[in-house]
């Protein structure tokens, strides 16, 4: 079974440009989470999808970030326009159900550098 995959693995863009990150969860996983780690800081929650619906987007930093999960399969996270402080590692995780025994499986992350 394939794990969570993320694309691209690295992205270097200039301030003001747009970047779109993609996450493919494990097949059959309804729950999809986005997290971000800014250099030197902790990994922070951004948002949570259940299928195609946003359940919790309390961690989204501002309206330059837009996440979608059309069809309830893969998800995209778009940053437009990118700012220097958006640099960091963006992780995606998925889980099958919401329950105390459920484990979140993480992808390898996308390393974003905004110059």
């Amino acid at each position: 079974e394939a794990g969570v995959t993320q694309f691209p693995s690295h992205s270097v863009i200039e301030k003001g440009q747009t970047v779109t990150l993609r996450c493919d969860p494990i097949s059959g996983h309804d729950n999809l989470y986005w997290y971000r780690r800014v250099m030197g800081k902790e990994i922070k929650f951004l948002l949570h999808f259940v299928k195609e619906s946003k359940q919790d987007e309390s961690g989204m930093p501002n309206n330059r970030f837009l996440a979608e999960r059309t069809g309830g399969t893969y998800s995209t996270l778009k940053v437009q326009p990118a700012e220097l402080e958006d640099s960091g590692v963006y992780f995606c995780a998925s889980s099958q159900d919401l329950g105390q025994t459920e484990t979140q499986y993480f992808g390898p992350g996308t390393r974003l550098l905004v110059l």
């Binding site: 902790e42 990994i43 025994t101």
Partner: protein, 114 residues
């Protein structure tokens, strides 16, 4: 709100030595506790988790952790480390009955030297 403190940002040890990575948390509600590991160039992998029951939890690769409610701690231990244990370790919590989003500590980089 919940918070997680990992007291050591870096822990160097020699191979075959014991190690303890410390984690304290703060929460006004019941939480579940987790330890994740990130090996170089890989994603986060679950080591172990505490949900309820026995306070001593055993995980993969010989790691274990003990939940101490009175001290709000969840320290990770291994009696004898290997070079391959070199990685970054993250302690995390999620609120019971929530959407299970994780609140992480800043991570501890464990370096095992020969």
């Amino acid at each position: 709100a919940q918070s997680v403190t990992q007291l050591d940002s870096q822990v160097p040890v020699f191979e075959e030595a014991p190690v303890e990575l410390r984690c304290n948390y703060s929460s006004s509600v019941s939480v579940y506790l987790f330890w994740y590991v990130q090996y170089p160039n890989q994603g986060l992998q679950l080591l172990l988790k505490y949900l309820s029951g026995s306070t001593l939890v055993k995980g993969i690769n010989g790691f274990e952790a003990e939940f101490n409610k009175s001290q709000t701690s969840f320290h990770l231990r291994k009696p004898s480390v290997h070079i391959s244990d070199t990685a970054e370790y993250f302690c995390a919590v999620s609120v019971v009955g929530s959407n299970y989003k994780l609140t992480f500590g800043k991570g501890t980089l464990l370096t095992v030297n020969p």
